[in-house]
């Protein structure tokens, strides 16, 4: 099924939005960390795992989701949350550790929660997969047509939580979609050194659920596979597993020396940059001009500059706020 110009342009814009956000966060991240890199320095301290290169996955999946569809994400969550429709200001403010952030500065870049979008993530590999099962269970119990989606990496497909979760979701026929983002590496260890299974889609058979592997650089392929899975879940027909093969353009985290990469590999993958591929497709079809592409880019740049300004201008939380929010009902 050919996608409409409108859909393709929406996907394109979302991917540009994510890429622009991530590349700007990278620039900000290095503020105060040069010439000597100190992870605790600068306006954005701590680890930083950026999503550049994988945008087609978040955009292609989340295009099918409503704000009330629960999504669980990972330590590399920005793309998913942006594609879910987050307020960029509050997201950026959280990354800056500010009071106005999504979590009032208690979460940071790896622990972003947005209850309005039913979005959660975390720094433990595989940790969010069972949460999607539970969210899907809640949906099924209430007889709603929402769908729970869990994003995680191919590294997480080797952890117990993945296997327990898929078994439960299949057993209970839950409205869930599991998205493996195979970006080839679990930090430095390649997929080929982590599992004898070539495609995680093969693992669907172990749980009796449909599974498919798609080209994660091709947003149309992701969009179509995800659309089928989401609709299947909404119809109450149970979970689906999708593996999208993609590539991280910025390494595992900022500061990753990447000496484990085979020579020329990243350059080869960059030839298939998902945004460039889609732009070419749109231009070939006469659906996007260079000027229009530039206008989209400018709009996204301005949006993110606005979010950044908001974050920078926002106040830090008062130190004593560290002692609140342990419990809802503190005695």
């Amino acid at each position: 099924m050919a996608l409409s110009r409108e859909t393709l342009l929406q996907l394109y814009e979302m991917m540009v939005k994510i890429r622009t956000f991530e590349e700007r966060v990278a620039e900000i991240y290095y503020e105060g960390k040069q010439p000597v890199f100190n992870i605790a320095a600068g306006p954005v301290p701590g680890e930083m795992h950026l999503y550049s290169g994988q945008e087609a996955v978040a955009a292609g999946v989340c295009a099918h989701l409503r704000p009330d569809d629960p999504v669980t994400s990972t330590h590399r969550p920005h793309g998913h949350l942006i594609a879910k429709g987050v307020d960029l200001k509050r997201m950026m403010a959280e990354i800056f550790g500010k009071e106005t952030g999504l979590c009032h500065g208690k979460g940071g870049h790896m622990h972003l929660f947005d209850p309005e979008l039913h979005f959660g993530c975390g720094g433990i590999v595989g940790g969010g997969i069972p949460h999607a099962v539970g969210a899907a269970l809640a949906i099924k119990k209430r007889g709603e047509d929402r769908v729970a989606v869990s994003f995680f990496g191919e590294g997480a497909a080797n952890i117990g939580a993945f296997h327990e979760s898929l078994n439960l979701a299949a057993l209970w026929k839950l409205p869930a979609v599991f998205i493996v983002e195979d970006n080839l590496y679990a930090i430095s260890v390649p997929k080929t050194a982590s599992t004898a299974v070539r495609s995680n889609a093969e693992r669907g058979a172990a749980y009796g659920i449909p599974a498919v592997q798609v080209d994660g650089q091709d947003v149309v392929a992701v969009y179509e596979a995800a659309g089928e899975a989401v609709e299947r879940a909404r119809r109450g027909e149970g979970p689906t597993l999708i593996e999208a093969v993609c590539y991280r353009f910025r390494g595992h985290f900022e500061g990753d020396p990447e000496h484990y990469l085979p020579e020329g590999e990243k350059e080869r993958w960059k030839q298939r940059d998902p945004i460039v591929l889609l732009a070419k497709q749109l231009k070939d079809q006469g659906w996007l001009t260079d000027e229009e592409a530039q206008a989209i880019q400018d709009r996204m740049t301005a949006l993110i500059a606005e979010a950044e300004a908001f974050a920078r201008e926002s106040a830090y939380p008062p130190p004593e706020a560290a002692l609140t929010d342990v419990f809802v009902q503190a005695e």
Partner: protein, 336 residues
């Protein structure tokens, strides 16, 4: 009218049933909690009453279903998950420690995790090192988990209803020896009066199970029963022991502890968990910080002496506090 008597197991199951009737968001999941009724009877009768949609037997996948309880709770349900033995926590520790306990805080208070994780604790019946631990101190150590450890049928019901209605994650530890199971050593205190109507017991309120004036015994769970037996013997010797059942560790009722210490000036802690870096040390630290001037003798503690729980009867009896050892420790404390 005679008071109605229930075992602790039935009191817990009744609490859950009444909350399930009151609130359709409440459901139960765990291993063998359906047709079996829970290995220790905490869910008996629930499947018949509410059906398999709300009383869900799970496969053996604690990480999966405890994590699913977290996810269902964040979506507004109020799940109760049973971890059959607390000793099995290891396979689900990430979900308990890093997710259940931390999501509310990490979200800046925006996401609630209203769930109950109930689990069986304790030894005394030769189930050895991997089926006999208490471990409540381990969970009380982690910020973000409320820790409830009832000792009687009455408390068990009221604390369970409170736990289900609480908006925070609550771990609820029932000792196998207080459940009133036909296949455990008989324990007369495992059956007691329990009102039929629902009621709650607020967290953070210790209960003075026996008043006394010479020493304070701080304890919980099955050790409350042993301490009460010991207090009766001590009374015959003219020693008046006050027995305080802590009931909840998080939040902890410091005021009742301090008040009692100020009255008796002597403290004995009786704890079935490991001795070092846990509850007994914490209680002594609190007393040192807040009532040091009031204690006339160094506090004493009876706890498992930092060994795994052994299998053989004489070995196990050597490490778990007994009535005799409580009596002995109290005598020594009075002689100081």
């Amino acid at each position: 009218m005679a008071e109605r008597l229930l075992t602790t197991a039935r009191a817990i199951a009744e609490a859950i049933a009444q909350e399930m009737e009151r609130d359709e968001r409440v459901f139960v999941m765990g291993e063998d909690i359906g047709a079996y009724g829970g290995i220790f009877g905490a869910t008996q009768g629930l499947l018949e009453k509410f059906g398999p949609e709300r009383v869900m037997d799970t496969p053996i996948s604690e990480m999966g279903f405890i994590g699913a309880a977290v996810g269902a709770a964040t979506e507004g349900m109020r799940p109760i998950a049973e971890l059959m033995f607390v000793d099995f926590f290891g396979v689900a520790m990430d979900q308990i420690f890093n997710h259940m306990a931390k999501i509310h805080y990490m979200s800046g208070g925006n996401v609630k995790v209203p769930m109950v994780l109930m689990t069986a604790i304790g030894g005394g019946y030769s189930d050895a090192a991997q089926h006999s631990q208490c471990l409540y101190s381990l969970f009380a150590h982690t910020p973000g988990i409320k820790v409830v450890v009832p000792s009687t049928p009455y408390d068990a019901k009221g604390l369970m209803i409170q736990a289900i209605r609480d908006d925070d994650p609550v771990m609820y530890f029932f000792h196998k020896g207080i459940m009133g199971l036909g296949w455990m050593a008989p324990n007369p205190r495992a059956t007691g009066p329990v009102p039929e109507e629902p009621y709650t017991i607020p967290f953070g309120q210790a209960d003075v199970k026996r008043e006394g004036s010479d020493l304070t015994i701080l304890t919980l769970s099955l050790m409350v029963h042993r301490s009460l037996d010991a207090a009766e013997q001590l009374a015959e010797e003219g020693i008046s022991a006050e027995v305080i059942d802590l009931r909840t560790l998080v939040p902890l009722d410091k005021a009742t502890i301090i008040e009692s210490v100020k009255k008796t000036h002597r403290v004995l802690i009786v704890d079935e968990d490991y001795k070092s870096f846990g509850l007994s040390g914490e209680l002594i630290a609190i007393i040192a910080e807040e009532a040091l001037d009031y204690v006339d003798a160094p506090p004493k503690r009876l706890a498992v002496p930092d060994v795994p729980i052994p299998y053989s009867r004489p070995l196990e009896q050597e490490v778990i506090p007994s009535v005799d050892r409580i009596v002995q420790a109290a005598r020594e404390l009075m002689a100081e």
